[in-house]
């Protein structure tokens, strides 16, 4: 039995614009294992987000295909196995934190007789992301980092097997970002889903990932895939180890060569 969870085969994406066709992604081949944490690293505009959206079934590739657990993305999406977190938390401003996390369960249609169970589940999730004291607050009362934690809780509440994250901490300051990186790892070690994480931060990619997919500038091609063999659980101090620095250096070199 093949333990590859996500398989991208020869995927290409071209956009039609007024001035002609733009090739966003070119010949992407990628396999991601179950429970693996994979980052997609590259300069802005290289098609990282496009690749993530192809994997999540939001964009159909012009060529090639994506399979998840041997099924088409369409089937996986309809089974609600994919959770999304974007750079913009995209919370509903009229709902409380609790209500925002509840939204996916509402959409999926959870049995209303188990109201107490739902409340338990949401409170557990809020606890996991460190927001149990804020369940009745509205998004505008929270900081950017807290809003993003709500978005993570919302993405995980329905137990998706795959979590797709598109620069989720890109808009946050470095201190908050570093803290949330570690919290994300803690959540992931708790739930063990497969994560694909788009970022343009080398430090973030190295700290979080099992493997880093380095993309070239447009049209995005895979330059290299780096293995990160830092021991887990990773801590703040992991950032200052020899291995960390050598992987970061290598990622830097790959991105620089591409210029």
């Amino acid at each position: 039995m093949d333990d590859n969870c996500i398989k991208v085969k020869q995927a290409c994406v071209t956009y039609k614009t007024k001035t002609g066709r733009i090739e966003a992604l070119c010949d992407i081949n990628l396999s991601v294992r179950d429970n693996e944490f994979v980052s997609i690293l590259g300069p802005s505009g290289c098609g990282k987000t496009t690749l993530l959206k192809v994997i999540g079934g939001l964009i159909n590739p012009s060529n090639g295909k994506v399979q998840i657990k041997g099924k088409s993305v369409e089937v996986i999406r309809k089974n609600r196995e994919i959770g999304f977190v974007f750079q913009n938390p995209a919370l509903l401003p009229w709902r409380t934190v609790w209500g925002n996390v509840y939204l996916p369960l509402e959409i999926i249609g959870i049995n209303p007789s188990s109201r107490g169970e739902i409340d338990n589940r949401i409170m557990k999730m809020l606890e996991l992301v460190g927001l149990s004291g804020f369940k009745d607050n509205h998004p505008h009362e929270l900081s950017g980092g807290m809003q993003q934690r709500v978005a993570i809780a919302r993405a995980l509440i329905f137990n998706p097997s795959i979590l797709l994250m598109d620069e989720p901490f890109g808009a946050l300051d470095e201190i908050t970002r570093d803290r949330l990186n570690l919290e994300l790892l803690r959540v992931w070690e708790n739930m063990k889903h497969t994560v694909i994480f788009v970022t343009h931060s080398i430090r973030e990619a190295v700290l979080l990932s099992d493997r880093i997919v380095v993309l070239s500038k447009r049209p995005g091609k895979i330059v290299s895939i780096l293995e990160v063999n830092l021991p887990r659980p990773r801590k703040t101090s992991s950032r200052y180890t020899e291995e960390f620095l050598s992987i970061a250096k290598e990622a830097h070199r790959l991105l620089d060569n591409d210029r």
Binding site: L58, R77, K78, R80, I82, F84, A90, L92, P104, I107
Partner: protein, 259 residues
């Protein structure tokens, strides 16, 4: 509680209140000193005594105008909501209806109103139709904009959860459109007052517009002013009522509702 609110209201609006009182005193003084005849410009005191004397009569006609305004506004709102949903879900509808809407708005209502007299007779109906015709346009423009103002990321999230169109409408589009809808309703309620009076000017035997016409013809200028004052109070009252409803039901607090 109410006493506290009204006290803070008075405090807040004291400067404008004082200015108003000063202007009224100036008006009274000028009319007295220049001996301006009442049929050209009645003094504030004359107008007030006119209102008190003809209280019954004025209230009766005010109620008729109020009914026209409210019914026309409600009808306009209903039509606007239905058309907005049509425009939201059908590209063809959008292409066909938008130009037509603009036609109905650039044609002066005062020029169409006589036609309604022919079609709908002499009663309340032609006034209600004119009112609805001026009321619905700002609501449509704002509602359509509000319903379409959904975050790209939120739309992606809903798609990844396989949400139905109805769920997206009820849980995302309608709540997020509320601030826009109320902005439209506020413009619309002010226009509705004008619409009802226009309808009455063209041909009526009841209502404040009718009284303004006949008092003007008979040089009963104080009565004209009495009607104008009632109309403006009615207009402000209706506007504040919308603001109050907004502060109760919309998640975004109205900027105009100042306490």
């Amino acid at each position: 509680m109410i006493a506290k609110i009204s006290l803070s209201l008075i405090k807040k609006h004291l400067p404008s209140l004082l200015t108003l009182i000063f202007l009224l005193l100036l008006w009274q003084w000028l009319v007295d000193i220049l001996k301006i005849p009442g049929y050209i410009l009645p003094s504030p005191l004359e107008i007030i005594s006119e209102i008190i004397q003809k209280k019954q009569y004025l209230i009766r006609h005010s109620l008729i105008t109020l009914i026209e305004i409210l019914t026309g506004f409600a009808l306009g709102m209903l039509i606007a909501f239905i058309i907005s949903l049509g425009i939201l879900y059908s590209k063809i509808m959008e292409k066909v209806i938008y130009p037509l809407l603009i036609f109905t708005q650039v044609t002066p209502k005062i020029a169409i109103a006589p036609l309604f007299l022919i079609w709908f007779g002499y009663g309340l109906l032609p006034k209600i139709v004119v009112t609805a015709l001026v009321a619905f346009f700002p609501i449509i423009i704002n509602t359509v904009k509000g319903l379409k103002s959904i975050d790209m990321e939120l739309a992606d999230l809903m798609y990844s959860l396989s949400a139905t169109k109805r769920q997206i409408l009820n849980k995302i589009r309608i709540p997020s459109s509320l601030p826009y809808v109320f902005a439209g309703l506020k413009v619309s309620i002010s226009l509705s007052v004008i619409g009802a009076i226009v309808g009455e000017f063209v041909g009526a035997d009841r209502g404040l517009g009718y009284i303004i016409m006949i008092s003007n013809a008979n040089l009963e200028t104080a009565q004209v002013f009495a009607c104008l004052i009632i109309l403006s109070i009615m207009g402000v009252g209706l506007f504040l009522a919308i603001c109050l409803i907004e502060s109760l039901y919309s998640w975004q607090k109205s900027a105009e509702f100042i306490i």
